[in-house]
Symmetry: none
Amino acid sequence: MSILLSAADVLRCFSSTRHDVTVTDLVTLLGMPKSNASRLLRAMRDAGLLESVGDSKRYRPSLLLHQAGYFYRFSVSLIDRADAVVARVGEQCGHTGYVSVRRGAEIVGVTVHPGRHALRVVTTIGDRIDASASSTGRALLARLPDAGVRALYPDGLTPPSDTAPATVDDLLARLAFIRSHGYAESNDEAVRGVRSISVAVGDPVTGAEVALCISFPDATVAAAERTGIIRLLGAGAAEIAALTGDRLFVPPNPPIAEIAS
Amino acid sequence: MSILLSAADVLRCFSSTRHDVTVTDLVTLLGMPKSNASRLLRAMRDAGLLESVGDSKRYRPSLLLHQAGYFYRFSVSLIDRADAVVARVGEQCGHTGYVSVRRGAEIVGVTVHPGRHALRVVTTIGDRIDASASSTGRALLARLPDAGVRALYPDGLTPPSDTAPATVDDLLARLAFIRSHGYAESNDEAVRGVRSISVAVGDPVTGAEVALCISFPDATVAAAERTGIIRLLGAGAAEIAALTGDRLFVPPNPPIAEIAS
DNA sequence: AACTACAGTTCCAGAAAATGGAACTTCTTG
DNA sequence: CAAGAAGTTCCATTTTCTGGAACTGTAGTT
């Protein structure tokens, strides 16, 4: 097994709650002998993939990774365009905007634009969460046919909160709403009191798909503003869809019947 | 030589003008045998460090790298980066450099690098001083909208010296200058005969904001050197702003009209 | 100061992976 | 369809990687 596999595993250890790692972290997280962990971290640092934190025994990602990862956005130009839209919409309404992508049954945040409001939504870029249990995830899942969604959940759902769909049928019902209305919504799911509105868009040429999301404390936002957010986000996504020729895109229509999706 | 070295070299091939690489790119850029280049790219993709672009023979950085690199900015705090810049600039010009943060209407020094010159500026790390009455403070206040500044001073100003702004309107006029020129300046304010130049920079993701400041006895520094300090400080801050994606940052332009702000 | 517990490093031989040259397969383009 | 370029696979040799154990270093405790 190549050392590259191990190196990638090390990178996977970083998360929003773990910004640096130690030899012991690797031993517990990856179950590798500590002799390996010790040498691997040193080798990765010597190669320039990691940096030592101060003069401690801690290691963090290096500037090189930051730069290389940065170009991911440009290569996947869809992300760049989506990022520009959520940045603009987030700026206009003062709330937090995200761009996320789906990997299998999981969702990964790619970019964030924190809002200006005091009640700012905390963010988890890079963490993987279940696609079924968030508006961004469902917005992206809605682009799959029902059979494709079922295939992603061979063992059914394990809902992390009681407002998330509990069964695959439950999930499919929500996806049907999203397909007809063009936007996905969540409330009280990942974070208590937080409402999110998401719209998905893709590029049929590259196969890439992203979700645009605006998150805000439910209590502070009236129905009219919420409708406005859906309109803004939808308009931005529509521009992207027109540009890429995305046929799966559904122009969001404003909420007439108030059904949480 | 470890394959990690080669992998890191591959990552170094990415740039703003090269968002993906091919086997031949590696052969020409790194001078490696193309058998190696072919296997290396595939191994890196299999490990999850790179992704294939569509179904072409092109490779780009992966989502994993994007995530890992993203945590770099959390691990390397804004203060550390700012400190590195003022240390470097202070070393180059021999004057004292500070990093400060704002807490409400007050400024707190966080790190200092005393200068080499005989007339050394004495420092006050940890002391809280009024933000309106120093270049660092005004550099940071200038990042707020006028309404936000007014909200910080509901009872108006109590100027500690006669060169500091006397009223809120006076302060806002100075902030306007800072926003357009990208740097703040003070003279004779906290300490008689001392001039300070400050530049502020922030990280929109973490919400942190810091001011970089160089302080020196006014009498010993000619106009040309002063311009040079602004340039150096501005260049260092610009690097940080580029890294964090700070949209509020204004690249300092050299003083044409000599107006103290 | 000695003891203990824990974190990290170094050593070793066997096992596994990387290397570079050449032959081979696609893919482009005239 | 032929020629050239780009990419892949094969091979024996060389080098690196692995995992267990012994070793070093660093607190915290008595």
